[in-house]
């Protein structure tokens, strides 16, 4: 475990003036936000505003050029950081599910705890079956991803990340590739997760979900956080004209 | 130039590295001739095999079942038998049999000629498959449009199908042609005076096997390397905009 002096009254995830460029193109231009333990935050905004990049920086899939990101007090972009240790604490679910096609749903969920955390097979299997039940996929343990629908695959992906017992879960537009009917089943799963107390950071277009479940909403446009606030004030009393324009387009 | 040759002579005297192809005029001459033979053998085979491939692809579209079968048989034969054995077959078996039949003394054709025939038909078989795949990538609607404009079948093949087909199949074709250049070394077996054969003669005369082997390897790497580079440039140059990855 990483030695530091983090306590739960400090932010679990903290971004401070983060700048990121892809070559000459600057995608994040000074992002600052804090997430407390147990909070659910949603990041919304138009395409190309840097939302996905932002999320991916938090578990070190992308690097940053300036600023700092800390998870439980540990600086993420420290060159001496053991990325594997970080990723045991930060779970991520992708838009394209990215399940391992050559393994069954149960095996997908069991692989990481077995091979990375080196837990015993019985314990891991028991927890995996619990998680399958939790995401409401009983009966699909031995199905391969190719045999599952998009929504089912995404729920397996969520269970797979949960199996590692992370402290914070990142969701990168996880319903964007799904049919409207299956979006609901995934959102219900995430909502239950949030109600159980998991700290969640979601990049999403689902405004209804954001309004209902989020504790705090951040609106990004062209690499900066334009406005943020709790759902009640954010949706009804948006201040910035860009925010109002965006909300007008999608609501 | 003399300075360069003298340096190699020094290399021999001082370190025993015997590279006579640099400082000995006779060896230098025949080595360069050998390289030249490899180059023009490769070029002739490339051109002829491409022609064979285009013709074969054309014949495979024929209405007559037996023409198609003959072409299919030709491809199956040349793809599933060893190129060296094919070469021997042509040079030793076919040549002597034909010579006996027509009563020609000393063989119908020299080794170079049979090497060209054998290698061109060998590569041509692969090319036919490649061109066929390229031809099939041209949509039927395009062909129909050309027919509607009054093109004959041959004109369609020449002006519409082939230009589109060869752009599509160029990477596979280039790969095959590079393999063809590497395969020209089998001509050694029937005493065609190409690079490898001449080098063998040189190292038998001069007893400098390690030096010559290294030189031969490097020469072939350069020849193939230059060809690979040119092929890539050509592929980039003729790419159809908007098509492909």
């Amino acid at each position: 475990m990483i030695e530091n002096s983090w306590t739960p009254d400090q932010p679990l995830v903290s971004l401070n003036n983060v700048h990121k460029s892809f070559g000459d193109l600057e995608v994040l231009k000074g992002i600052t936000l804090d997430v407390m333990k147990g909070e659910v935050i949603c990041i919304i905004g138009p395409s190309g505003s840097g939302k996905s990049t932002l999320i991916r920086c938090i578990n070190a899939l992308n690097d940053i050029q300036a600023g700092s990101i800390t998870v439980e007090g540990q600086e993420v972009h420290d060159p001496h950081l053991d990325k594997l240790e970080l990723r045991k604490k930060v779970g991520m679910v992708f838009q394209q599910y990215n399940l391992f096609p050559h393994k069954t749903a149960l095996e997908n969920i069991m692989m990481a705890p077995l091979l990375v955390l080196k837990q015993s097979k019985d314990k891991v299997e028991e927890r995996a079956l619990t998680l399958i039940k939790k995401v409401r996929l009983e009966g699909k343990e031995n199905s391969y991803p190719g045999e599952l629908s998009g929504g089912q695959q995404q729920r397996v992906a969520i269970a797979r990340s949960l199996a590692m017992n992370p402290d914070v879960m990142l969701f990168d537009e996880v319903t964007a590739a799904l049919d409207p009917e299956t979006v609901k089943e995934v959102l219900v799963t995430i909502k239950e997760l949030a109600e159980d107390g998991m700290t969640c950071m979601l990049v999403t277009h689902e405004m209804g979900f954001a309004r209902e479940v989020a504790d705090h909403i951040y609106f990004t446009d062209r690499g900066v956080i334009v406005e943020h606030g709790p759902p009640a004030t954010f949706f009804d009393q948006a201040q910035d004209p860009r925010t109002k324009e965006f909300l007008g387009q999608i609501l | 130039m003399e300075i360069v040759w003298d340096w190699f002579e020094w290399l021999n005297k001082a370190h025993g590295i015997k590279l006579t192809i640099f400082y000995d005029e006779w060896d230098r001459g025949r080595f360069l001739k050998g390289i030249w033979t490899t180059i023009h053998l490769s070029v002739v085979c490339i051109l002829l095999s491409v022609f064979v491939g285009m013709t074969g692809a054309w014949l495979q579209m024929s209405r007559f079942v037996w023409i198609r079968r003959v072409v299919a048989g030709y491809i199956a034969f040349f793809r599933n038998t060893p190129p060296l054995v094919q070469l021997y077959f042509f040079y030793f078996a076919v040549d002597r049999t034909l010579a006996g039949f027509f009563d020609v003394k000393g063989g119908m054709m020299d080794s170079y000629g049979w090497a060209v025939i054998s290698l061109s038909f060998f590569a041509g078989a692969f090319n036919t498959e490649i061109f066929r795949a390229g031809v099939e990538a041209v949509p039927k609607s395009t062909i129909e449009a050309s027919e509607a404009l009054g093109y004959t079948k041959f004109q369609i093949y020449r002006y519409i199908t082939l230009p589109l087909a060869y752009r599509v199949c160029l990477p596979a074709l280039n790969n095959n042609l590079i393999n063809l250049v590497k395969t020209t070394t089998v001509a050694y077996a029937i005493a065609v005076p190409e690079t490898l054969y001449i080098s063998n003669q040189i190292w038998s005369d001069e007893y400098n096997v390690p030096e010559m082997m290294n030189v031969v390897w490097i020469v072939y790497l350069l020849l193939v390397g230059v060809l690979v580079f040119l092929m890539h440039r050509w592929e980039k140059h003729i790419k159809v905009p908007g098509f492909g990855q």
Partner: protein
């Protein structure tokens, strides 16, 4: 309306060019002849032709005054030698096949590591792997054979005992090198064709790079590597007669010896055709099987 065949072209949704399918679903020469050969009447036809030929052949032998040896007799007489080599020695066509197996096995093993090296994040490993791959991909196989057969020692001393290294061993090693290079390219291509999402989700689950490679990526690569790998095996088998040039007693050498012993020019074409038919009979089924596997993996159910 966009059809499945449309390539992403500029302003039109009509197909400009269809996908290039060298080994796709269309009927190739192999499929054509597989159908013909499996047809019963064709087999009967071939048998009829063969019997007719044998009749003519023995009649011909009677006429030319050599009644004891028809072509058929000659073939039967020399086949054991051509197939298995001289008595007490290991050679002939069987040697060609054995060389192809060993060279393929060794080349595949080395090529796997070289291919993995080509995608390594370590700069040095990646460059060295790339250079090695290009070096052996672009070298003519006969030159490699000469190089290693002439420059490797023919006798070696290990722990005080002298071992003779037979020619065919050195030849096998020399042939495994271009296979290594080509397998390296196949492996690299397969790894690069796996979507990056697999790497990302794997890393996000805290798998190390080596765990990701061996447990997630490579298992998915195996299926797509098999058809090109089998294709190279066929090419390798067709290249094994090259060892005859360097004096190894394989099927080619012994066929030439047999023909020299007989000294009859009318046997030349048939004997060469006989040897070629063995290679054909060995290679053709493998090529047809490869073609079937390619179709299965290209068109098959979505998972891989």
């Amino acid at each position: 309306m966009i059809s499945p065949n449309t390539i992403k072209s500029g302003k039109t949704d009509l197909p400009v060019l269809l996908p290039f399918k060298l080994h796709g679903a269309t009927r190739t020469a192999s499929d054509y002849w597989t159908e013909i050969i499996s047809n019963k009447s064709f087999v009967i036809f071939i048998l009829a032709v063969l019997s007719l030929w044998m009749l003519i052949d023995s009649a011909f032998a009677q006429v030319t005054g050599n009644p004891d040896q028809t072509l058929w007799d000659t073939i039967v007489k020399w086949t054991p030698l051509m197939m298995f080599g001289p008595k007490g020695e290991f050679g002939g066509f069987v040697l060609n096949i054995v060389v192809s197996f060993i060279a393929m096995g060794l080349g595949t093993f080395l090529g796997l590591w070289l291919g993995i090296g080509q995608v390594s994040p370590n700069n040095l490993i990646r460059r060295v792997s790339w250079v090695t791959t290009q070096l052996f991909r672009n070298s003519p196989w006969l030159v490699l054979l000469f190089y290693f057969m002439l420059l490797l020692p023919f006798r070696v001393e290990l722990f005080g005992v002298d071992y003779d290294i037979p020619g065919w061993t050195k030849a096998t090693f020399a042939l495994s090198l271009p296979i290594m290079a080509n397998v390296s390219e196949i492996v690299r291509g397969a790894i690069e064709s796996i979507p990056t999402g697999q790497w990302e989700s794997s890393e996000s689950l805290a798998f190390s790079r080596s765990q990701t490679l061996w447990r997630i990526i490579l298992p998915q690569c195996v299926k797509r590597m098999i058809p090109p790998w089998m294709n190279w095996y066929c090419i390798l088998t067709m290249s094994t007669p090259l060892i005859s040039i360097l004096g190894v007693s394989d099927g080619m050498t012994l066929t030439q010896d047999a023909l020299a012993a007989e000294g009859r020019s009318e046997y030349l074409i048939p004997m060469y055709l006989w040897l070629m038919s063995w290679f054909f009979a060995y290679s053709y089924p493998i090529a047809a099987w490869t073609r079937r596997l390619e179709n299965k993996f290209v068109i098959g159910k979505g998972v891989l």
